[in-house]
Each structure stands twice: as structure tokens, then as C-alpha cells.
């Protein structure tokens, strides 16, 4: 029973120089499209990419991780990867300042994907801020399997809700919450979840967003006794499993709690197995404490 177990880096991960095809500002975000060739066919909803930032004489030594918003291999063989980027610090600001024709060094796909049920179930997708990014392609996949898909998106303010038209089409219902009430219901996603779970007889919650939101959703899903697959966001130095910076205390199938790498055994994890309230310490009982 090795601590770093069988879980390996995404078997399809490839490092490549990707040309930027387009870069458009959408609300508080940038929607960026990259030409990645056949790799696009290997990307699953929930996977992420890791991009070098800052250019040739950059002081930024680490890659930045971004959830895959959409990946498509066109019939002419052109593979496209789409991301939704929030300009925050120096890395993301550099990235959104790049122009079509520029190239970035990109590794894709990385990490685990959302689990897709074999049966047509009722799914509730919950996204916070740019956390909605991976949910639209997930919605399409689930719809194609005959699932009912409802979606809740929350953000601090209207401009930070990322919900493009074509995305909305793939869900049965879309509920929006904003902290300041500038769009949808004033409040947080957790305020509306219990009712939606009951109303749509939800079987599985899929979520992506800030850690505090994922924790709140976990409590609700446990109470309602529904499954909860969430995509976590821990600071990552390497994105490929070699540095051990991106860990969370997670209970394994064997009942042992381990500090688990979210870049390899995540970002998609079983929310009920994460020790959320202890994520900033080493909880008692963790293997090797």
C-alpha cells in the first residue's frame, strides 16, 4: 500500500506549443481558443491544462492551471481547446494579453474527469465564478446520455457569471445567484441548492468553484444524501504530480485519509471524501502524521 499509489498522470497528457486562435473579453473573463491538434479528442469534462506564463524572460517560474471549458476536434482535423480566464495576478494577466497568432506552451489534458453515469440520472451542476467553465461541456455529455441537467451559477456580481448562450441551451434550467443581487437571486448558490435538489430529484451534484463553496455544497449533499463530484482548486506548482504542493486530506477507498495530490488524483474528487474543514491543517488520523 504505497501512499502515492496506482494513480498516475493522465495517460493522454501531451506537452505542445499551442497557437492562440482567438481571445475575447466576455464580462469579467477572457474566452480564449487554442489550436492543439488531436489532443482535443482526448480531453474530458473536468480535465485541466497547465500553461507556461510570462514569456522568454519571465520571472514567473510556475505553470498556471486552467479548467477546460470545451474541446473539439473539427472534421478538418483542427483541434480546438477553449478556456475561460479570469485576469487576476501576473500570470493570468499575461495570458489574456496574448494575441491570436501568439503561441503558448501547454500541457493537456491533465487530471481526472467528471464521472459520467451509465444510467440517465438527474444531475445538478453548480459553478462559482469561472468555475462554470468545465460545466457546460459536462452538461452536453450528460444530456447526450439522457440525463436531466439543471444548473446553478453563482458569483459576487453579474459580470462574473460566465454563462454563454450556447451553453445555456444544453441545460434544462439555469438558476443564477449573485452576492450583490445584480443578476438572478441575491445570495449564494448554497441558499438555492436544497430546494433545487428536492424539486428536480437530483441524484448527483457536479460542482466547480472556490473551495469554500465546495465545502458548503458537500454539507448540503451529505444531508440530502446525493453524490457530489467536485473539481477542487489547490495551488499547483507542477500540475503533473511531482511536487506535492497541491494536496488535500482525502479519505481513500480503504478508509485511510491521505494528503492527496489534486493534480493527479483530482481535480475532480468525491466531495464527501474530502476533509474540508481540515483542509488547512493535517487532521488527526492522516496517514503519516
Amino acid at each position: 500500500m504505497a501512499e502515492i499509489g496506482g494513480q498516475m498522470i493522465n495517460a493522454r497528457a501531451v506537452q505542445l506549443s499551442a497557437e492562440i486562435i482567438s481571445n475575447k473579453k466576455v464580462g469579467a473573463y477572457h474566452h480564449m481558443v487554442f489550436a492543439v491538434g488531436e489532443v482535443a479528442a482526448n480531453c474530458r469534462p473536468g480535465n485541466f491544462v497547465a500553461i507556461s506564463v510570462g514569456g522568454a524572460s519571465s520571472s514567473l517560474v510556475l505553470r498556471r492551471a486552467f479548467a477546460i471549458y470545451r474541446a473539439s476536434l473539427r472534421s478538418d482535423g483542427m483541434g480546438l481547446l477553449e478556456l475561460v480566464i479570469a485576469p487576476q495576478g501576473s500570470g493570468s494577466k499575461w495570458l489574456v494579453a496574448q494575441e491570436p497568432g501568439d503561441r503558448v506552451d501547454l500541457i493537456a489534458p491533465l487530471g481526472t474527469a467528471f464521472g459520467i453515469p451509465k444510467e440517465p440520472i438527474n444531475a445538478l451542476l453548480v459553478g462559482g465564478g469561472y468555475g462554470s467553465a468545465p460545466l457546460f461541456s459536462l452538461a452536453e455529455t450528460l444530456k447526450a446520455r439522457g440525463c436531466r441537467v439543471d444548473m446553478v451559477l453563482g458569483a459576487s456580481t453579474a459580470g462574473k457569471i460566465y454563462a454563454p448562450l450556447e451553453g445555456k441551451r444544453s441545460v434544462n434550467s439555469l438558476t443564477i445567484t449573485t452576492d450583490d443581487g445584480s443578476a438572478g437571486i441575491a445570495g449564494r448558490v448554497s441558499d438555492v441548492l436544497p430546494n433545487l435538489i428536492a424539486e428536480h430529484e437530483v441524484d448527483v451534484i457536479y460542482s466547480c468553484g472556490p473551495m469554500a463553496m465546495l465545502e458548503a455544497i458537500t454539507l448540503i449533499s451529505q444531508k440530502a444524501d446525493v453524490l457530489h463530484q467536485c473539481s477542487v482548486e489547490e495551488s499547483m506548482a507542477c500540475g503533473i504530480g511531482v511536487c506535492m504542493t497541491c494536496v488535500l486530506p482525502v479519505e481513500g477507498d480503504d478508509g485511510v485519509i491521505r494528503m492527496t495530490r489534486s493534480c493527479v488524483e483530482g481535480p475532480v474528487m468525491d466531495g464527501n471524501k474530502v476533509l474540508w474543514n481540515k483542509s488547512r491543517e493535517i487532521p488527526d488520523g492522516v496517514w503519516g502524521k
Binding site: M244, T245, G288
Partner: protein, 310 residues
Amino acid sequence: MSINFSTSISGAFFANPIFTASGCAGSGKELSHFFPLTSLGAVVTKSIMIKPRSGRATPRMAETPSGMLNSIGLQGPGIDLFLENDIPWLREQGARIIVSIAGESVEDYAVLARKLRNVAGISALEVNISCPNVENRGQVFACNPDTASAAIAAVRRNIGGELPIIAKLSPDVTDITTIAESVISAGADGLALINTLLGMVIDTTSMAPKLSQKTGGLSGPAIRPIAVRAIYQVRAAFPKIPIVGMGGVTNGRDAFELVLAGANAVSIGTATFGNPMAAMTIKNELEELCEARGFTSFSDAVSYAHRVEA
């Protein structure tokens, strides 16, 4: 007109001088997805302790200008599972293996050495002494000549046989040549220079240290001038001791700089986080650079910056 690119550390032979740095390549599994581990001079494994270790709480890292801080806290499975799983897997790959060990007491180092003494397929032992010594108010072994040499002596006494011992030193000392002298006297066959420097980042939003453990180890290009200086100083003091150099190497030029300063091999750490193929690119660039400068053998380039011009 290709050059002899092999190197040796106290009798242990390596096909090329580019190694991974401990803690920056796990046990090689993930990197093997990007290139065959046999194309490395050696895989230096993450420092292993006696028991399983959870490591420290997150946040464990902070990016800094041209560098990063980490406080992983030596997360790992412990020596027994390591020997059961990682070593056989690495052997299967045909990789050259340098095992890095870390302890919290002199006895820990002795125990680890005994566990490793009869293990087949290991080329050398790297002894990470940049660890807090629980028996001495948590002072880091490598920061004091007496504790540094005690840890190395314990390994020397227990390792037996031919396995070269490489002592990995901390740059956070007033005079690194004093520490080098103490570990060489205690039986180190080679030195690894340098481990990370103690640093801190304060998050100006939360207005508290960013890392859960407050301080962390600084690595990356920012520290390269410190690594070059440390290697140069130690090489000047000990003309023959094998040195594995590391600290901020991101390309062939950087690696060459450490080699000229005195490194017989160069380990790649933080650069791998920015680029999984870093070690391979660096290997190729270093070989080309050595050739371009007219060296027919890599070993002739080692310490070349110390030459006295006639």
C-alpha cells in the same frame, strides 16, 4: 566528434551528468510519462524517512520572483514501502538510482543506512541533512559542523560496502566550506550543493505568512548566483571532492555555469515544474555547449572557471 559526456561520483558511473533534484521528480513515475528515465544520468528520489510522512499542511508553496518557496515537509511513504514499490519499479525502468534519505535524529540516519545497505541497483546515497534535529532544539543538521558530521558518520558506519555517500548541504550557513570539511572528514564521498534557502512570503491580503509553516525553502533561478558561489567556494577548498550541483538551473547555459564552477553533475529541480522536459532540454544544450567550447570530455569542463591563465 562527439564528446565523452559521462561522469562519475566517487566510483559510481553515470552516462550523462544531468540528474533530477530530490523532491522535484517524485520517484520518477510521472516524468517517465514524458521521457524514458534511462536518458537521465540518474533519478535522485524524494528524500525518504523511516516512517510514512503526511508532510505539512497547505498552503505549501508560494511563487516568488524567479523562484518559489516550498514547505512540503518531506511527505512520503516511509522507507519500507519505498523499497517495496519505488525501487523495484525504478530498477525495472533501467534507471540509475540515487536514493535520498532524511532523518530527525542521528539514529534515524543510521537506521535508514542499514535498511539500504543491501539493496541492489542503487548507485549512490544522498543524505539530506537540511532537516530539523529533534534532539537539538530543531536546529537543522546541516547548519552546524558537529551535527552535520554526526549524521554523515552514522550513515558511513552503517552503510558498509561501496555505496558512495553524497552529503547535501544547506546554503544557510556563515561558511559552507566549514560544513563541507566536517562532512568530508566524517566520511562523505561527495557533496550535493545546494539545498533551498530559508525564506518567507507574507500574503498582503490576509496579512499573515502565506505558507502554513510560515517559512519555506527558496528554489529556482533566483538562487542560482548563491549556488554558483557555494559550488565555487567548496571546489576551491576541496579540489577533488565530487560535487552534484543544483540551484536554479533552467537551461544548458545555467548547467554549464555550475559545471564551470565545479559541479561533476547537475540536478534539475524547480525547472521541471515549469517544464516536464526540462532535464532533457538541459542535457542536450549542455552537451552542445561543452562541444562548442571545444571540450572533448565533459570532465574537462568541470571546474574550468578555476583555471589559472598562464
